[in-house]
């Protein structure tokens, strides 16, 4: 059963409204990115116009919406950091059932990196008393998986990453969680709210946005804050360039028509005694 229910009611500490913040990112469609050879033996990317919600973040939105549906007095905010078009993902998350969108708008397309993103979200979240902050375990483009833990550290919150199960603990301010560790083993923890969790795919099945909600989202204004107005964060890490991964095996490419390739493959399977 996806989502959790607050069996013991909404924790009193949050005065009737428990606020959840979900951090999401807009990313280019990874499958459609074309890698080509750039200058000096480096790789270059052709990123087509398709941008979408980071898949890992869909699980965080879904989990927050499940909590909201199961519990009275829960309010779900979704925040994103990115250039102007990034607000599109906020519309999508409202289509899934979140209440409000916050766009920390960067002046350019340049990815500011996890340290800056975490610092800016922390600045926004600090005075707003969120009981729970949810993130995806990483983004599909940068693949750093750092914003969650960095944000927790900046807000001095207890946190856990790679969470695969979540429910309320016997203590109403506590969450009972399972996080994935190596070898198919799960660590069982109890964590006191306010807390931050990064969620693993598979914790729930993210829903499709509903049309009526999407239409409503189109009319709704997001809270937009320019990151220029926030505390500047230096670039702690530079990405100097991209390279094509080394081949670890022979990577012999079969050529010809599909039919010819199938025949070659069957012959290889026969020759290697797999058939």
């Amino acid at each position: 059963m996806p989502g959790m229910t607050f069996k013991h009611g909404t924790p009193r500490e949050w005065h009737g409204v428990m606020k959840i913040l979900v951090c999401v990112k807009q990313i280019p469609d990874i499958e459609r990115i074309v890698v080509r050879d750039g200058p000096d033996g480096m790789a270059a990317l052709d990123i087509s116009g398709d941008f979408r919600l980071n898949r890992f973040d869909e699980f965080a939105v879904e989990e927050a919406v499940c909590i909201k549906e199961a519990t009275a007095g829960v309010h779900v905010d979704v925040i994103t950091v990115g250039p102007e078009p990034a607000s599109q993902v906020l519309k999508r998350t409202m289509g899934m059932g979140s209440d409000q969108g916050i766009h920390l708008q960067t002046p350019t397309n340049k990815d500011p990196g996890p340290a800056a993103v975490a610092a800016w979200i922390a600045t926004y979240a600090r005075p707003r008393g969120y009981a729970l902050i949810l993130c995806g375990s990483m983004s599909e483009d940068g693949m750093h998986g750092q914003v969650g833990p960095m944000l927790a550290a900046r807000l001095d919150l207890p946190y856990a990453t790679q969470v695969i199960a979540l429910k309320t603990a016997s203590d109403p301010t506590g969450l009972s969680i399972e996080r994935e560790i190596e070898g198919g083993v799960r660590e069982v923890l109890e964590i006191r709210m306010p807390a931050l969790l990064t969620l693993q795919p598979g914790i729930n099945r993210p829903r499709y946005p509903s049309l009526s909600r999407l239409l409503r989202a189109n009319r709704q204004k997001f809270e937009t804050i320019s990151t220029d107005a926030l505390e500047p964060v230096g670039t702690l890490i530079d990405c100097l360039g991209l390279v094509v991964p080394e081949k670890r095996r022979t990577s012999q490419v079969l050529t010809g028509s599909a039919l010819e390739k199938a025949d070659q493959l069957a012959a290889i399977l026969k020759e290697k005694a797999f058939l």
Partner: protein
């Protein structure tokens, strides 16, 4: 007076047993040292860490700091990070080397944020580019790797395991052991134990041939194609990537990858799998790898012996036919004898 340390290796031990990753990180630390300069030191935290520290000092020929930390019988991200942040801030090394595990990936970014350090996670290589030391890691689903160079006085690196080899030090070069104490307050996180996820992966860990499917299979009905291909090959089983299992198209007992099963079949046929590192780490030990994907730059092709750029939903039926032709010709051949 202990030497100041520029490259701080974060080791680990449980009940006095040194985790093997400690030595791998030390090997990485030595590589970093060779590319730049400075001294390497290993740190371990926990209860009764003295014996483990002496073992690392002897085998590694390196200075080891054993931080006795009462209450730290089990790792938890927030309190562990606080203890490490305090020590790292005091040592002020250029680099901190951690293992890219469920623990390292959890605490490294948080500690970096606490002390204003840079952080690069899931590093799988070291290189020099434009005169700068760069750490290499997967980006964009592993289609390319980024070269990341730090701008900060201290940078925390989490290293993908299984890539750097450790050679034990000479007997004569035993390093010193420094003992310290720290206070560990578990506070807001309570460790309640571990449990094995229910999945029994023996089907895919013992099969000599695996037909593995990824996102390129398109829809749930097409999973039957994988079963059809598996039936062409003796003793083949069907496996899948995480996304396939998360969708419920295959059970989790069939998931290959870091969070599923590590498999070593004689033949691995990757069908519509892009080849993210979390998956690849689960199948790298396969004997022979055939990859089929529509994207010629899919990273799975770097891990394959045979690469076929085709849509698996159309190509699998062709393989079935081709295999049938070969099997029939063998049968006819043996009839004639």
């Amino acid at each position: 007076m202990p030497d100041s340390v520029d490259i701080m290796v974060i080791g680990a031990c449980t009940n006095g047993r040194v985790h093997p990753e400690t030595y791998e990180l030390l090997a990485f630390g030595r590589r970093l040292q060779a590319l730049g300069s400075g001294t390497v030191g290993v740190w371990i935290w926990g209860e009764d860490v003295g014996a483990a520290a002496r073992e690392i000092a002897r085998r590694g020929g390196v200075q080891v700091t054993a931080v006795e930390c009462s209450g730290l019988s089990h790792y938890a991200g927030e309190p562990y990070g606080k203890v490490l942040a305090e020590e790292i801030a005091a040592v002020r090394p250029a680099f901190v080397c951690a293992a890219h595990t469920s623990e390292g990936w959890e605490w490294a970014p948080a500690v970096a944020a606490r002390i204003g350090a840079g952080c690069i996670c899931n590093v799988d290589g070291l290189t020099e580019f434009q005169g700068r030391l760069c750490f290499q890691k997967d980006v964009y689903g592993g289609k390319v790797k980024g070269l990341f160079s730090p701008n900060t006085a201290t940078t925390i690196i989490s290293l993908q395991l299984g890539l750097f080899k450790f050679t034990p030090a000479d007997r004569s070069s035993q390093g010193p052991v420094i003992h310290k104490e720290a206070t560990y307050r578990s506070g807001r996180t309570r460790y309640l134990g571990t449990r094995q996820a229910a999945a029994d992966t023996s089907d895919i860990t013992t099969a000599p041939i695996l037909v593995a499917v990824g996102n390129g299979i398109g829809n749930q009905e097409n999973i039957s194609l994988a079963h059809r291909l598996a039936r062409c090959l003796p003793k083949a089983a069907v496996a899948g990537t995480r996304i396939i299992c998360d969708r419920g198209w295959l059970g989790y007992e069939r998931q290959v990858g870091v969070s599923g099963a590590i498999v070593t079949p004689a033949l691995y046929i990757a069908c519509g799998i892009s080849g993210a590192s979390q998956h690849v780490m689960g199948m790298r030990g396969a004997g022979y790898v055939i990859a089929i994907n529509t994207d010629p730059r899919a990273p799975i092709f770097n891990e394959a012996d045979i690469c076929i750029v085709e849509d698996i939903t159309r190509f699998i039926p062709l393989i079935e036919d081709a295999c049938a032709r070969i099997v029939n010709s063998i049968d006819q051949g043996s009839d004639e004898k």
